[in-house]
Every structure is written in structure tokens, then in C-alpha cells.
Amino acid sequence: MTDPTMRDPILSIKGLTKRFGALAAVDDVFLDFASGETHAIIGPNGAGKTTLINLLSGDLPPTTGTIHLLDRDVTALAPDRKSQLGIGRTYQKTNIFPDETCFQNCWLAAQSRLPSSMRFFRRAHRRADIRAATERALALCNLDARADVIAGHLSYGEQRQLEIGMTLATDPKILLLDEPLAGMSAEESVRTMALLTSLAENLTLILIEHDMDMVFAFAQTITVMVNGQVLETGTPAQIRASAAVRDAYLGHGPTEQGATP
């Protein structure tokens, strides 16, 4: 069934499968991600959500299946090539350079957009264009006031913001977010949600999240995965109405968080 609001897919996966030995972590998945949409992937632990993100980002090569970015086959490309084509990602486990300042973390990310960093003679920090991109990313993730703080000294929530800021500094078209709110305090969640909402205006967001309130309020499309397979894809209303989803994932009782409208 095609959604009438569906725009051209920017990212399209067909028959995507990843096997670890006998286990199919991602099993014959077909999905289209519309340009500019916010698409959440939910499902119980072990459903294959993070594996799917790793396949999209190139961190893992798929066993079979294809990934197309617009018309281009990007199935087998390494993470650095995917990043250069505009697919940026953040990690579930905060993945920053803890001994460097926020500024330097974002700088390193922004510098990756130089045609080549095989430049040996000039001082790196003299590039005005990279400096501007760095400062833009710091402002976006609300860390401009913390630019000179060592990343390892930030609060957990701020480190998560920096994680997003670094990826933003690479100027992605598609942002893959693996549990952006995990482990955040309520206040930090609110701040990060505000950031994601502002990003959603210009980027295609694909995110994994366990906070059902957030997912149903924020996402335009929700995909439910169970045992490596796509159980259902649709608007939040469609997902909420789906009997299959209720049975498999959201639980049977009306007390389950997020399941009740």
C-alpha cells in the first residue's frame, strides 16, 4: 500500500539481509525513506534495529540485498564513502574524542569535508571555511558556550549533543540516530528534542528510539521491526491502529506506555 504523501525515496533498501552465522539479524527488509521525512524504527531488543543502522552507514556489509541513495547503489560502500555522500550517523554508545575540546571534536568532523586532508604544511586551524562550519555545528547542538571544554568533562547529555554536533559538522543529508535520547535526564531530553525538531526541517532523519511518547509525537513514519523483519510501516496513527503491532510489540494491556492514544 503506497502512502499518497510519500515523496521520492532518498534512501531505498531492497531485500537487505545480514546474517551472523545462523542468525539473521536483519532478514529480507524492504524499506523506502522519503526525502525530508522523520522515520523512526522501533522494536523490542534484538529486533535488528542497530544492525539495520550499521548496514545503512556502512559499518557492516550486508550479506545480501541492496541499498540505493537516490539512483546510486551504495550497498557495498565503506563508512567514509557513505559519509562523503551525505549519510551521517551517531552512535548509541557515545563516540567522541574525550581528550579533545568540543571545538576540536567538531573541527575534526568539519575538516573531513575538505577534498583531501593530505595537507602537510599549513596549520589546520587557519582554515576560515572549516572554522565557520565548526562554529555552526557547535551552535546547532547548543554547545557554542562550551567550545573550549574538554569533551570528556561534559555531562552525559552534553556528550550526546556533541555526538550529534560532530555528525552535523559533516553536513549530512541523511542523519542516522541510534537512540539519541538514551540515558538522558528529562531536561536533556527536552533540549535534544528541540534540536532534533529543528534538524527535521532540513534533513532526512532515521532514528532508533525506545521512548514511545517521543516516537509517536515526533516521527512522520514508523517502522516496527521484530526478529530482523519489518512487521509494519506507516504513520503513527496506522501503527497505533495495527493489531499485529499491538500483539507483537506494544503489549496487550492498555497500561503499556505509548500504546494508548
Binding site: D80, S83, Y91, Q104, L108, S117, M118, R119, F120, R126
Partner: protein, 325 residues
Amino acid sequence: MTNLRPTRLYLLIALCIVIAVGLFPLFGEKFHILLATRIFILAIFAMSLNLLIGFTGLISFGHAAFFGAAGYILAFVAPEDGAAAFWWSAPLSIGGAALLAAGIGWMSIRTSGVYFIMITLAFAQMLYFFFNDSPYFGGSDGAFIYFKPSLAIGSFDPVNLDNRVHFYYLAAILVLVVWAFLAMLLRSPFGQVIKGLRANEPRMRALGYPTQRYKLVSFIIAGGLAGLAGYLNAAQSGYISPAHLGWQESGSVMMMVILGGMGSLHGPILGAFTFVLLHDILRDLSQHWLLLMGGVIVAIVLFLPNGLAGLFTRKRIPQRDDDHD
């Protein structure tokens, strides 16, 4: 936070060292001048390995391959009845070592961790046995370089490497040149990338850096610098043998880097200085000197995790560099 950038005190210490190094040949005995020259050469060698271990995060255990190969290249191209010209033999040795590093590195960087250590060691040992078993290169006896390279340009010949004081100054200046080269490299975009590789390679790849390419280029630069050290070593001693590219030599230079401080620009210089002096002092003290040497190294590793360089630098607060073009 207080500003802990190089202070006047640092500049003062640096000035004292430069003056001491500059005046030393006026007072030093012949033996000590030769010893100091050897320390300079090993300092270049250790700095080259530190680019890999301390800054790129590549633990190469076969770094002597490039040191020794450069020496063999000099022995091979030097005429038997006269001096080789420094101006072409040095670039040839350095280029040869860099080319060798490109080949070995191209295969080695596909591995990581313990496998990288083993594969670099294996390549160096292959080279060791190649030279050891080739009568053409002198076999296990090694090869001789009968004349020190000449720095003459036409009839202009201000530096005579047969004069040990001249050699001493050349080696000292080259330590400074290599140090400055590395300082510049580490501040460049390339340097930022390799430091990121050491901290977190997968993250660098996710940020869009083709990490293998940067590792390979770093490996080639380090190989070329090791080649410079190997060239000077062969020129000074007039002799090159398979032992120069064996695993003991790779182990010694690694110890200099660890002693001095990985990831510190001047650490390997301190390390080479300490290693050679310890070696000489302890050897005179007891025939069981290797045991003592081991004890000193264990003590330094345990109590000075940042090496000797850690004694002199407090933990630096990284500074945002605010000068624009």
C-alpha cells in the same frame, strides 16, 4: 584555567640545550662526540617511530627494516674508491626506505592490533634473512662504506663528514629539522587526522575519512625518516650488517620511544639519550647489565606512564587556536 602554553621557562631551557649542544664539541673528548652523534642519529630514528606509535596509533615492530635498508642502499651505491655525494645518495636512501615502507605498509595496514605488530615484525625479519643470506650484500658479515659521503657542491666543500665535529653538527641540525618537520606535520590537517586515528579510528571513518590512506602515508613518512637515520648511521660507522634491521634493533628503538614518552615530540630525543647513556653506564658497571637495564625500563614504565617527557610537561590543557589568516 591557567595558560600552560610554552612559557619563558621552556624557552630558557631550550636555549640552554641549544647552547650546550653547540658548545659541546669544544670541550668534549673524541669518544663523547662520537657518542653524542650516535644519540642524535638514534633520536631521529626514535622520532620517526614515534610518529607511528605515539601519533598514528600503529605499533610497528619492524621499524628497523627501513633504518637498515637505507644503510644497505648507501653501501650499495657508494663507490669503493671514493666518496658518494651526499646530495644524491641521501635522497636515494631515504626514498628507497620510503618506497619499502610503501610496500610493507600497503600490506600491513590491512591488519590491526597484535596482527599489525606481527606482520611488521615478519617483514623486517624477512629482510633480515634476505641480507643475511645474500653473498652479494656481504651476507652475515655485512658491508662496508669506505668513504664518508661528501657534501661538496662543486669546489665548495664547507662540511667534511670525516671530521667528527662536522658530523656532530650535521646530525644535531638534522635532529632539529626532523623535530620541526614533525611539529609542522602534526599541526597540519594531516596531523589532526592521524591523531584522530590513534584516538578512535572507527569514528574517523564514520566522519568520512578514508583512514587506510592516512595510515599508509604516515607509515611512508616514518619509513623515510627512519631511512634518514639509517643513512647517517651507516655513514658514521662505515658499516652496515643484517643486525641493523633485526628485531633487536626494532625493539631498542621502541624502548627509546616508550622511555622518552609516546606521543610527545621531544620524548624520543630524551629516550634515545637515556637509552644510550644507560646502555654505556650499566655495561661498565656489571656484566649482568642487561638485567639492570630491564629493571630501569620496568621502573620507568611503571612510575612514569608518559615516559621521561611526562616529568617535564604537566597535563596540557588543549587550547583553541584563535589566530585567523
